[in-house]
């Protein structure tokens, strides 16, 4: 979330789209009901299903699964054509004025630079025009046809309400009503927040769904403001924290890009990640990359990371290719993976195409499952009848199952969706012989380290030199680890020499900012000369000399906006609302006096939050509020980063019920995301509408959490058994009655469950054709105290978003019949 849970109460309009906050995040949803009651805020829900969020909404509109970009693009068109944008904000805080390379083109579904063979873009034309000083050229009037504003206007003028309705199936008047609600917040005295979740990410165009919304929020001037922002309501209680720790192949803790084969040495690696400012006087904060990275290497390799060995740069593994979950399991399926360690994750349930996963696991030599609970993954080899029809005698994988603790049995921190890191305390010991995850990790690592000492093998320098200063080596204490994550001064940290300051007399001792051995107060103290160590730069400050700030429980809320600055520690720098500089106008005055974030007081930025800009960098400097971009402003036109284009464009799901992309009906190559990765063999596994005519989507129910709570008796009693939801029209067509058993089949497999026939799912008119939806809740499996059921991912397609590789669970094709 750019903002935070409690901040939702400050909104005038809450849009829930690509998510179902009432069901998936009920306790966060209370801030929606608070805003509705106390601010008279309106709640608008757009979803293929009439959900429990819709049940309390002021307005609901349906749309076909996988057509969110068409809908949002139509909203952008509505706002631009009716001049319902926050013009001053757009001009000052986005790249709307920036001039784009004249070779950039968009034609019939493809942006310039597409290679059909590689299914990727050469993005070189998606670039700015540069002046002699290497800064980007801008047109302050925003009239130049090559400026971002005009290109955007042209691109989205194609999304007329009529066409949007034809693609999405949303009746035109309902689409317009939602567009008017959203556009109504373009004035500085109104703010909209958007709450989304997996309903936007789990698509082959997932990242662009979110970008489209970010563009809308920028055009409305709603970023950086109380009650605004783009708010991802995330999954697990610590999914934000584990994302921050970067348990991903492609990034190191704190979102530092991990080296690939092309980063042949430290210099090359750092250079590629240390941008130059694109406009004058910008903070360009990523210029500090080398400080963050060097401090991480010092945290991991201590004295062994030296200037001479490039701070152990070569000890970091380099990637040759992608290793996201889909890629990993595809490699496993191909027999390229021998071992798999699975910690607190149930992939046979959570990854698409259960059959492919089961086949992949059977090719492993060894599988290690670390979990507090029995899982389907650990028992993939066991026969559970129709739910898991396998022959154990033919599966040669050696499977280990290690019992771990659950939340109640461990001390440490979780980071919530608001980025607030909060300390929690264990209440009891884990049951039986179960151990906390960090102890299992430590014991396994130390065992391997000892084996490598006793019997040398492949390169072991990184193993032997890994810092391990924990008082009890087998059981690193959470306090020790959090201190390491926060970082400390290895040598005295000195104040940088200000070249403009008058010279000091010789012999004057340098100013010491942090003494050697002390915990760092924040990331501003990090250095790239080896004098600081920090396990995760964005967490710096959470455990400083002042102590463990994540354990703070101060309930003071001086502003009344719900920021609670003394509760836990919000990364970065205890900032509660990101980009809060944009909550004030270019002169530094808050856009809305009733919801003041920070303001320029003549000497410094100050207010109810930690400023998201250097405190003394005043408005006259021209420094933009988006300090993490070298432009200093937000990108309506995304240079370089997105894989399928700088502007979000509608593409059909890989399994589309309509077969053509109405935005480019004559280009069969651009029906679905042209840049999404498809593995060999998976293309044949995609179904066609002739055989599988219904648009299916999977989702969670409020009574359950993923595949855990089927092990809890109370949760299972309030939602005991698997079911499928269809609308009354489809039920009538297929002769299915409420409570009947039905069979749902996709190209990958079939499942059987009870059918719930509902008025809440309507057939939609898509370009003259009726499209029906089939709803598939996910929570059942062949292990649990709930009634056994089929893993819903028996049905889902093995393809992911072109950027994040998040699987497309939300839009695929099935057929349904009475069982």
């Amino acid at each position: 979330m750019t903002n935070h849970w409690v901040d939702i109460k400050n909104a005038d309009l809450i849009l829930i789209m690509g998510g179902n906050a009432a069901e998936a995040h009920p306790c966060g949803f209370k801030w929606v009901t608070e805003a509705m009651q106390h601010r008279k805020a309106k709640l608008v829900v757009v979803d293929p299903r009439y959900t429990r969020s819709a049940a309390v909404a002021d307005y609901y509109a349906p749309l076909r699964v996988g057509t969110d970009i068409a809908f949002l693009a139509g909203v952008i068109n509505h706002m631009l054509s009716n001049n319902k944008i926050h013009a001053e904000y757009v001009k000052a805080y986005t790249n709307a004025t920036f001039l784009v390379n004249p070779d950039f083109k968009f034609d019939n579904g493809f942006f310039s630079g597409y290679s059909e063979e590689k299914r990727t873009y050469d993005k070189s034309t998606w670039a700015y025009q540069r002046g002699k000083d290497d800064f980007v050229l801008v047109d302050e009037t925003m009239q130049d046809p090559q400026c971002v504003f005009q290109l955007m206007k042209k691109h989205y003028s194609r999304y007329t309400p009529e066409l949007v309705s034809k693609i999405t199936g949303t009746p035109k008047e309902q689409f317009l009503k939602v567009a008017e609600y959203i556009a109504g917040t373009h004035t500085p005295d109104k703010v909209m927040t958007i709450c989304y979740a997996l309903g936007w990410t789990q698509h082959t165009v997932g990242s662009q769904n979110i970008r489209a919304m970010a563009m809308i929020q920028l055009l409305l001037g709603n970023m950086g403001r109380a009650g605004g922002g783009v708010n991802a309501l995330r999954g697990h209680a610590n999914v934000q924290g584990i994302t921050d720790m970067c348990a991903y192949s492609e990034v190191l803790p704190g979102y530092l890009g991990a080296p690939g084969d092309g980063d042949v040495d430290r210099e090359t690696y750092l250079k590629a990640r240390t941008p130059k400012p694109l406009r004058p006087n910008q903070m360009n904060f990523p210029q500090n990359f080398s400080k963050w990275h060097t401090s991480l290497m010092k945290a991991w390799y201590g004295a062994a990371a030296t200037k001479e060995n490039d701070f152990a740069y070569d000890w970091l593994p380099k990637r040759d290719t992608a290793y996201d979950s889909l890629a990993i399991f595809d490699r496993m399926f191909q027999g390229k993976v021998n071992g798999f360690i699975c910690q607190g994750f149930n992939p046979i349930a959570a990854i698409p195409n259960k059959k492919k996963l089961g086949t992949a696991f059977a090719k492993l030599k060894y599988l290690v499952v670390i979990d507090p609970l029995r899982t389907e993954t650990a028992e993939f080899w066991k026969n559970y009848g129709a739910f898991n029809d396998v022959d154990p005698s033919k599966i040669q994988t050696e499977v280990f199952r290690l019992p771990s603790s659950c939340f109640a049995e461990e001390t440490g921190t979780f980071t919530n969706s608001s980025r607030v890191i909060a300390w929690k305390q264990r209440a009891v010991e884990p049951p039986g012989e179960a151990k906390v995850d960090s102890e299992i990790t430590a014991r396994l690592f130390l065992k391997l380290r000892a084996m490598y000492k006793a019997e040398p093998g492949a390169f072991a320098d990184a193993i032997q030199n890994l810092t391990w200063t924990y008082a009890n080596a087998n059981m690193p204490a959470p306090e020790e680890l959090l201190r390491e994550i926060n970082g400390r001064a290895i040598e005295d940290v000195l104040a940088p020499v200000d070249p403009k300051a008058p010279p000091v007399p010789k012999g004057t001792p340098p100013t010491v900012l942090v003494k050697a051995g002390e915990q760092l107060p924040g990331f501003a103290m990090l250095r790239d000369d080896g004098s600081t160590a920090c396990g995760n730069w964005i967490y710096a400050g959470c455990f400083s000399q002042a102590g463990n700030l994540t354990a703070r429980r101060d309930l003071a809320d001086p502003s009344g906006l719900g920021n609670y600055p003394g509760w836990g520690f919000s990364w970065p720098a205890n900032r509660r609302v990101l980009y809060n500089r944009a909550g004030a106008d270019p002169a530094g005055k808050p856009w809305d006096a009733s919801r003041r974030g920070i303001a320029w007081n003549g000497k410094a930025w100050a207010g109810v939050d930690v400023p998201d800009i250097a405190p003394a960098l005043g408005p006259e400097s021209g420094a933009g509020p988006f300090i993490m971009t070298p432009e200093g402003v937000a990108r309506l036109f995304a240079v370089g980063l997105m894989n399928e284009g700088p502007f979000p464009e509608h593409y059909e799901p890989f399994e589309t019920p309509v077969g053509t992309n109405l935005m480019c009906p004559t280009n069969p190559k651009a029906v679905s995301n042209p840049a999404a990765r498809v593995f060999k063999g998976d293309l044949e596994q995609f179904g066609k509408a002739a055989e599988f005519p219904y648009a299916a989507t999977t989702y969670r129910l409020t009574e359950h959490h993923h595949f855990w709570t089927k092990n809890s008796i109370s949760n299972s009693s309030v939602q005991p058994a698997q079911f499928i939801e269809i609308g009354t029209e489809l039920a009538k067509e297929k002769g299915i009655h409420n409570g009947d058993m039905v069979k749902v089949k996709s190209m990958r497999g079939e499942i059987k469950a009870t059918c719930v026939v509902t008025k809440r799912i309507k057939g939609l008119d898509v370009n003259g054709k009726k499209v029906h939806h089939v709803g598939i809740p996910i929570h059942w499996g062949f292990i649990g105290v709930a009634q056994n059921g089929y893993l819903s991912n028996t049905l889902t397609p093995y393809v992911g978003d072109a950027n994040s590789q998040t699987p497309e669970f939300k839009a695929f094709l099935v057929n349904i019949e009475k069982a």
């Binding site: 009920p26 429990r52 819709a54 309390v56 009693s717 309030v718 009870t754 719930v756 509902t758």
Partner: protein, 289 residues
């Protein structure tokens, strides 16, 4: 507000001796604001957890209501109704459970002394040690709430967490409610808040929003705010004008003159007599007492 003495009990079932009425105990009430209810069933789970109940794991029968009905272990239940008209589809979700009537039909119907009591704060509570499992409370309840356990043949229903309330805490369902749809406080305070909410909902466009505090049972200590206050039946059959059932009046009519001691046998006899002779002999006794 402890409730450890008989002074806190204002009424006992099948008891003719007057109850203590000297103590001035404030009346409590729970208010369920349907416009904020997302049907998440947190109240159902919190109720089970607090009261140490384990519901059976049933089946899906084509609806979101699980279990399908109130049971001896599920003292509250979310009921879901899809109501559609020309302009709009509503998914009306109602938390069902004991309404804690000021004039409780169950208590009046109960033939067993002290099996049902009403505390001075308005809570109607079942005392299972005195319950004979006859099921009259079920018939006597205008909201169809109590359920007889198959395990021990005793009647069960929501206690309004009388154990929590007696130490100054809100009921478990109130505490857990994620959206603030359930609130708890003094009865007068809750009536005022409910009316305020109904007014706010009217401003939002729900012209018929209203507080549900039915007079036919003397008002209730569990009340609703309904967006469609003119059509309570649309909320899975919430009665528009609930009254203490005729069965109860019958029982009261015969119980009073015959006294407590011989009640059991006589009751049976009287009923058989009733069956033979018909209803005309019985007095209607539906007035206040």
């Amino acid at each position: 507000m402890t409730m450890q003495t008989s002074m806190d009990v204002t009424r006992r079932s099948a008891t003719t001796t007057p109850s203590s009425s000297i103590r001035e105990t404030p009346k409590v009430a729970k208010l369920i604001d349907e416009s904020k209810c997302i049907g998440c069933k947190a109240c159902q789970v919190a109720c089970q957890e607090w009261n140490d109940l384990k519901e059976d794991i049933g089946m899906n029968v084509g609806v979101y209501d699980n279990p399908a009905d109130l049971t001896a272990s599920s003292w509250t239940l979310m009921r879901f109704a899809e109501v559609e008209n020309e302009t709009r589809l509503d998914w009306l979700i109602r938390k069902d459970g004991c309404m804690h009537c000021a004039d409780p039909g169950c208590l009046k119907a109960c033939p067993s002394p002290g099996a049902i009591v009403q505390y001075a704060n308005g809570i109607v509570d079942f005392k299972q040690e005195n319950c004979i499992g006859c099921g009259y409370c079920v018939t006597g309840c205008p909201f169809d709430i109590p359920r007889i356990s198959k395990k021990d043949s005793k009647a069960y229903k929501c206690t309004l967490c009388s154990d929590r309330v007696s130490v100054g805490l809100e009921p478990a369902c109130v505490k857990t409610c994620p959206t603030g749809a359930i609130v708890f406080g003094g009865k007068d305070e809750m009536v005022a808040y409910g009316e305020k909410r109904a007014g706010e909902l009217k401003e939002r466009g729900y012209q018929k929003a209203a507080l549900y505090n039915p007079a036919g049972v003397g008002g209730t200590h569990v009340m609703y705010v309904l967006r469609h206050g003119d059509k309570p039946q649309e909320y899975s059959g919430l009665p528009a004008d609930p009254k203490v059932s005729p069965m109860v009046s019958l029982w009261k009519g015969i119980a009073k003159p015959l006294g407590v001691a011989a009640m059991g046998l006589t009751a049976l006899f009287a009923f058989l007599h009733y069956v033979r002779v018909g209803p005309n002999d019985a007095e209607v006794d539906n007035d206040k007492h």
